[in-house]
């Protein structure tokens, strides 16, 4: 049975990854999960300098999901390299570093700083966080802006580049095509959907940031549809995510056209979700007589 998948010449032992921001750099979840069993660890977003993030409350539960407005709090790339990357050296898994910034220069500084780090297998560029005012999503909601930043990052990056797309757009196909045209090696989607919750007793927004990103099983049908549309619009690989809770969910994304999948908010519900999804995929392949995971990708529906 083959569960290996390949993206831009990098081979992953299986298609199950972690979604950025839901798994730290793996350290906290290594108490529960052998990181060596994952296809890849995708780290929390890292910027050129430390970011404080947003005021609290930063999270709120909603029906079938949650809203978050963390605001990309991170210790900056230097601490990340010394501590998080060093930690990840112990594990036989691929490392995808999520990069965030407020200006193009911020992103490029991180990309260049990481260019000689052997432990970084790929870069995922976050142009889709709905919770920071400057940068980030400003690059992810207009096709020409996405094209521009992708081209500039591709000029500097030594590792393959994944552009992480926002679902808060009119046409996900147009955005995926813009990333591909600018040279992106892959796209990942979806980031969270912008949402809001109001505490009716306190007459306040549930989040200090007022709006936040919706994730969890509630968004899965939207994510499957967008992965399907993106996968049919571009030739580069698509990494699918959005509410994956089980192997069945992951296989839906693969059948919609995803080469790999990522588990996000469900890590908070069950720290073992990633491994459970991976083992479930193997069981599904066995019971359905599937020899190669790649054979069910984007099957004719």
């Amino acid at each position: 049975m083959n569960t290996k998948v390949s993206i831009s010449g990098i081979t992953f032992k299986n298609p199950v990854m972690t979604a950025s921001g839901t798994f730290g750099s793996g350290m906290e979840y290594s108490d529960f999960v052998d990181l060596g069993r994952l296809g890849a660890v995708v780290t929390k977003g890292v910027a050129n300098v430390p970011w404080e993030g947003n005021p609290t409350p930063r999270v709120a539960e909603v029906y079938g999901g949650m809203l978050n407005a963390i605001g990309l709090q991170n210790p900056g790339v230097e601490v990340f390299v010394e501590r998080d990357l060093e930690f990840l050296k112990k594990y036989d898994t691929k490392v995808i570093v999520n990069v965030c910034g407020k200006t193009v220069e911020d992103y490029l500084e991180v990309v260049e700083r990481l260019s000689d780090e052997d432990r970084v297998d790929m870069l995922e560029i976050n142009v889709s966080c709905p919770n920071v005012r400057e940068g980030a999503i400003a690059f992810g909601q207009k096709a020409d802006a996405l094209f521009g930043i992708t081209s500039k990052i591709k000029e500097k990056a030594k590792q393959p580049v994944i552009m992480k797309l926002s679902p808060n757009v009119t046409s996900i196909s147009e955005m995926a095509k813009a990333a591909e045209a600018a040279g992106a090696d892959a796209v990942s989607l979806i980031n969270t959907l912008t949402g809001m919750k109001i505490d009716i007793y306190r007459r306040r927004f549930a989040l200090a940031n007022r709006t936040g990103g919706l994730s969890g099983p509630a968004i899965k049908p939207v994510a499957v549809r967008m992965v399907y549309e993106a996968a049919h619009a571009v030739k580069i690989p698509v990494i699918g995510m959005g509410g994956i809770a089980s192997a069945e969910d992951a296989i839906e994304f693969i059948m919609a056209g995803a080469t790999a999948v990522a588990v996000g908010a469900m890590n908070f519900h069950d720290p073992y979700t990633t491994v459970r999804v991976m083992e479930g995929i193997e069981k599904f392949m066995e019971s359905e007589g599937i020899e190669d995971i790649n054979s069910i990708r984007g099957i004719n529906l």
Binding site: G24, D31, P57
Partner: protein
């Protein structure tokens, strides 16, 4: 077994001890490792509610491998927990966070201060302080704040500590807050361990600073993962902590108990 884990835990007993306040004993292998002030994440069966509910550990029966939680029903999750009875299983994650530094109590007069649903974790705290042999702490007193006459757990505190009560409506003890009750008691603590709502903790922090008293505060915030990965539950600190490298420490991991002097509340 040590170290945090997610497991199905059997309910031993549950009863309502005050209006909307429930008292549950659960089997837990890790009971022997619990430090007072630590908490667990409790999961709902309702799949529409994803996140573990952070609930403080009220007591740990180290020999019987059981823990006790006392919680208020505030939403769909806790309303579901209130329906559980003996023999039911409930998914829990724990023990989480850092508890109160009991060793610092050595030779000191300690006052624990709790408000509302911040009262429960202080029960195990006074129990453990009172068990300490020489050289143990000096005098142990508890100042508890309630909304009204429903002074849940207060009789149990009186087994381990001198008890002083404040109530919002004055129906029992001193009318006012826990600081009013502390002043009224005439007790002069060297060390305060406190848990309760933010306005109360801010008041205690100021009181402790003005009077040169060392204080440890247990904070509460909306949490998601409970294990330090998501950075949802942070609190402002005066200096950047060694994990975040910004002035936002994780309540679930560096806390929930913090030295009051490092906080910027």
């Amino acid at each position: 077994m040590s170290g945090k884990q997610k497991c199905a835990s059997k309910v031993i007993s549950q009863k309502m001890i005050a209006d909307g306040i429930y008292d549950m004993w659960l089997e837990a292998d890790f009971a022997g490792d619990v430090v007072p002030g630590q908490f667990i994440g409790v999961y709902t069966v309702n799949k529409a509610a994803l996140l573990p509910r952070p609930i403080s550990i009220c007591e740990a029966d180290r020999k019987g491998s059981a823990i006790r939680i006392v919680y208020r029903v505030v939403g769909t999750g806790t309303a579901e927990f209130a329906l559980y009875g003996p023999g039911d299983y409930i998914m829990i994650l724990g023990p989480l966070g850092n508890g109160f530094p009991l060793d610092e109590a050595e030779g000191k007069n300690v006052v624990v201060m709790g408000g509302g649903i911040g009262v429960p974790p202080l029960l195990e705290t006074v129990k453990r302080l009172s068990e300490k042999k020489t050289p143990g702490p000096g005098e142990i007193n508890a100042v508890m704040g309630y909304r009204s006459r429903d002074t849940f757990l207060s009789d149990e505190f009186s087994k381990y500590a001198g008890l002083y009560i404040a109530s919002d409506d004055g129906s029992v003890g001193v009318k006012g807050n826990v600081i009013d009750a502390l002043k009224e008691s005439g007790k002069k603590p060297d060390l305060i361990f406190a848990c309760g709502p933010m306005p109360m903790l801010k008041g205690i922090k100021s009181y402790a600073e003005e009077n040169g008293i060392k204080a440890y505060l247990s904070l509460e915030e909306r949490m998601a993962c409970g294990v330090g990965a998501c950075l949802g539950c942070v609190c402002r600190t005066k200096e950047a902590d060694s994990h975040s490298h910004v002035k936002n420490a994780r309540i679930c991991t560096e806390g929930p108990v913090f030295d009051a002097s490092i906080l910027d509340l």
